[in-house]
Symmetry: C2
Subunit: 273 residues, 2 copies
């Protein structure tokens, strides 16, 4: 099994209102490797947001994060700098620092919100590329994320169209013939991480093509990247340690106070005798 990835040359600087699917199509058309059935185009969310005009002025950055936040998971203020990092669940269900609000590679004085609906953005691009090239092309929209217990960041999928986001091996068997019961590789995330290695933040190349996993490409009706985030009852880390501890402290205090009060009340006559 062989896979090739490359950064797609010739995407211009994107501004609000640009027809992103056309610009990516133009770059693909100029690429001597062409477009083949099963190619996966990985698009950095930043240019999707720019095309959608998701700019807000930098003064509003904290307000913008708040507006994008469904739920604060954890926040931590750096005592040295006074700046606060907020890990939040955003309206897409993604748990991410600063709700994905981005201040790098944006026009001076502005920050950028995530696309409104990255799965829909991916679908629009995929539909346009499929129509233009007559090829079954998949599209992923990627964003850079930190991780709970690992330093640094990796690119992960926030939008998907025509790509299987999970490679479901749960019905298959290992080489010993035993069922692979719990294995559900998130191939959409792995593809976005792979693509980051050829796009690169400092190079300014925002789109990559992945060739060699055509088996993961299919109908535009396949479930999107919205199916990746795990929130709700199955989320064992729905708040940071300090926040969960504070919840527990409050509940414990109330319970302890009530019992302490009763005990103190009960023993008081003895003590005052």
């Amino acid at each position: 099994m062989m896979m090739q990835l490359w950064g797609l040359e010739g995407i211009p600087e994107i501004t609000a209102g640009d027809e992103l699917a056309s610009l990516i199509g133009d770059a693909l058309e100029r690429d001597p490797r062409g477009a083949l059935d099963g190619d996966i185009v990985v698009v950095t969310s930043k240019i999707v947001s720019k095309a959608e005009g998701r700019f807000v002025t930098a003064d509003d950055r904290e307000d913008a994060i708040t507006a994008e936040t469904v739920r604060v998971v954890a926040s931590r203020t750096n005592p040295a700098t006074g700046s606060t990092t907020r890990i939040v669940e955003n309206r897409l269900g993604i748990v991410q620092a600063a709700a994905g609000v981005d201040a790098s590679n944006t026009p001076e004085g502005t920050v950028l919100l995530l696309p409104v609906d990255p799965d829909a953005s991916a679908r629009a691009i995929a539909a346009a590329l499929r129509a233009r090239f007559g090829r079954e092309i998949g599209v992923l929209v990627s964003d850079t994320m930190g991780r709970a217990w690992r330093d640094g960041q990796i690119d992960q999928a926030i939008g998907s169209a025509g790509v299987r986001v999970f490679e479901d091996l749960r019905g298959s068997t290992d080489t010993q013939g035993r069922p692979l019961v719990v294995t559900l590789p998130c191939v959409a995330d792995e593809l976005c991480s792979a693509a980051e290695l050829v796009k690169g933040k400092a190079t300014g190349i925002p789109v990559a093509v992945v060739r060699g996993r055509a088996d993961l490409v299919g109908s535009l009706d396949l479930p999107g990247a919205r199916t990746i985030p795990r929130t709700g009852p199955n989320d064992m880390f729905r708040k940071g340690y300090d926040e969960a501890h504070a919840d527990g402290f409050g509940a414990g205090y109330d319970s302890g106070y009530a019992e302490g009060y009763e005990a103190g009340f009960g023993e008081a006559p003895e003590s005052s005798s």
Copy 2:
């Protein structure tokens, strides 16, 4: 920028005591693409563990997890099956389900512990391949991991030799000339995720070659994958919600009880008058 990845054919089933570096070298030698300076060989941790004889009998699985555990982060029992998932920090600092103890693709009745020191394992393989081929080859050892807030699993790096695990962009600037202050892509993790896409759990191919990021390959003295896990004071998620809540409840109860007792005591004479 172009990157190629492929699964390396011809690695036999590995058993305890096998010379893994020789077997990978033999497979590389038979590969018509050869070995070039800057190639990165990604080795599934499972075969490193097998070569190192890290088998324990399946009956001891829970004991094995306990022995590999430095600290329980969260545990959750499935009420339907009665089985408990334990997310723990293991002796390598990695936060992972079941301490990385693995029951798939292992001989019947056995489970497999992680390699003793995956950075050292990577270094031994890299040194042997460099000596054999006279090429500057990097080696990563990968393992499959779940994530806090995302379904499914991705492959990440647990061992590294001769590969820059982080691509440090913190000194560089974005296309607008502003410093990329917080960007530290964990390229070792991204390379392992990329490699998983050509190895595949169900195919039984445990080694991949990545070609095209020679800039990430260097001295065998580069910091290993042991530098990736983030634990200690900077870990905002050092326990699961329920565990952190319980810690807080205990502390809150004690505090509330003391204050409640005092209040109850103080008011008792009035109430009994």
